[in-house]
């Protein structure tokens, strides 16, 4: 294959209590690509991310990650998931950074990062700690290794949670509004980290409200509204030359400020 697809999602549909939240979402992410998903609140961006990361199950559609099929439709068009072992294996290809960090409060920063490599990947404690300290250094948090999450600022916590995800060496890293719980000053430090990861050609999917960031960092932008993809394309096309009225209306609100 010339262009290996790290993530392929096709016609994803999902309802909560009869309300359709995802009405047929299809995206592809190529290795090394940074995809930004933008759109108003309630448009289904986060739900889509949660489906791909197995925190929600889809009603129908197909998802494959790194060439392995997580879910596909049966003859009746209903989603059929791979068996538990395959789902778990596919889960190891991905990492997710949450809006609210979700660090483990009872574990130190270092333990937060080493726990999964040791327990899940069965790495030695020494190896996991070496990796963790390298990542902390990269995040500019070397001196915080023995601190507890409650002693850190929001921006620092989010950097630890990025390090925690990176320690599992995922093939694709998802960000679910990684800066929405942070004030503008701290937002900058997280965006800087993600920019750094993009420069290393990490495959990433970022759900974000930071339009400038999406435009600068993403290779490809998807605009979602009301459970469908309204428009997608390279950032300059979508941000500067859109012909779509809905996209224009959404973006104009950001350009005003």
């Amino acid at each position: 294959m010339q262009n290996p697809q790290t993530l392929t999602a096709t016609d994803i549909r999902k309802s909560f209590d009869g309300t359709q939240v995802l009405k047929g979402i299809s995206i592809q992410v190529t290795k090394g690509q940074v995809l930004a998903i933008i759109g108003p609140s309630g448009s289904g961006k986060s739900t889509f991310l949660r489906c791909v990361t197995q925190l929600e199950t889809v009603d129908s559609g197909e998802i494959s990650i790194c060439g392995e099929t997580l879910v596909k439709n049966d003859a009746a068009g209903k989603a059929v998931y791979a068996n538990k072992a395959v789902c778990a294996k596919i889960g190891l290809h991905i990492g997710l950074v949450f809006q609210n960090f979700n660090l483990f409060p009872h574990l130190s920063v270092l333990q937060n990062i080493t726990e999964a490599p040791v327990r899940v990947l069965h790495k030695s404690k020494e190896e996991a700690e070496t990796i963790a300290r390298d990542l902390l250094k990269k995040m500019g948090l070397s001196e915080k290794a023995d601190a507890y999450p409650c002693q850190l600022s929001g921006g620092q916590q989010q950097r630890v949670s990025i390090a925690r995800a990176l320690a599992m060496n995922p093939d694709v890293l998802f960000f679910d509004e990684p800066t929405s719980a942070l004030d503008p000053e701290l937002t900058g430090e997280i965006l800087k980290v993600i920019r750094g990861l993009a420069a290393e050609h990490r495959t990433m999917v970022v759900v974000t409200h930071e339009m400038k960031f999406a435009r600068d960092v993403a290779d490809y932008v998807v605009f979602m509204d009301n459970g469908v993809i309204v428009e997608q394309g390279p950032p300059e096309e979508l941000f500067d030359h859109t012909q779509n009225e809905r996209t224009k209306a959404f973006l104009s609100r950001f350009n005003e400020t």
Binding site: L55, G91, N102, P105, P149
Partner: protein, 213 residues
């Protein structure tokens, strides 16, 4: 009053009270966790019986449960437990119900994000529960657990209704024969001392876990 006879008798009876206290804790804590698990299960076949169990145990008097286990088992099931065993069984079954609800409250108070973060990192359900959730639950349930432990120390005195010779029983025997209130005062001090130790243990545990929020 002959204190040289009274005090050794009271101390011996205190050992019985302590025995009921510790046996109850050893068995009702794990049992309570199992009941909590069943109560939180989405399977009706598990959660309905557990709801019913908790309703009965919390909804009827502990003293009635003691009397029932000692006097009621023979005519209904043909089994006669001895006095101390009946008392211990009643306390274990009763306290397990209260502990179950405390565990459930603690487990359900842990934000869903903790489960989700663990899942995305690849932890199994068992690893998530024992390494991520349970340590946080322990910290959160210490205050209500302290209440239950202290109540249990005092509740052991109920065992006298089925003839178990524990601290308060020995004490009241002495009060009626000697027509003096002093044994009551001494017994009160004994209970107070035991609960001071319990309180101290919980304070130490809370301090130990205060390194995070």
């Amino acid at each position: 009053m002959n204190y040289q006879v009274l005090l050794p008798q009271m101390l011996e009876a205190t050992l019985m009270s302590l025995r009921i206290f510790f046996i109850t804790l050893i068995f009702s804590l794990p049992l309570g966790m199992l009941v909590a698990m069943g109560r939180m299960s989405r399977l009706k076949i598990l959660n309905l019986p557990m709801r019913f169990y908790i309703l009965i145990m919390r909804g009827t008097p502990l003293m009635l449960q003691l009397l029932f286990l000692f006097y009621g088992m023979k005519p209904i099931f043909g089994i006669q437990l001895d006095r101390v065993l009946s008392a211990e069984a009643a306390f274990i079954l009763n306290y397990a119900a209260y502990f179950a609800e405390i565990f459930r409250g603690g487990i359900e108070s842990i934000p869903r994000g903790q489960h989700e973060a663990a899942k995305v990192l690849g932890f199994t359900k068992k690893q998530t529960f024992f390494r991520i959730i349970l340590p946080q639950v322990v910290k959160r349930i210490l205050p209500p657990m302290g209440n239950e432990f202290i109540t249990l120390v005092k509740d052991t005195s109920l065992a006298q209704v089925i003839g178990v010779v524990e601290l308060l029983k020995v004490t009241s025997n002495w009060v009626s024969s000697s027509v003096s209130m002093t044994p009551f005062v001494i017994a009160a001090l004994f209970y107070l001392a035991m609960n001071a130790v319990v309180t101290r243990c919980f304070t130490v545990a809370e301090n130990k876990l205060s390194y995070y929020r």
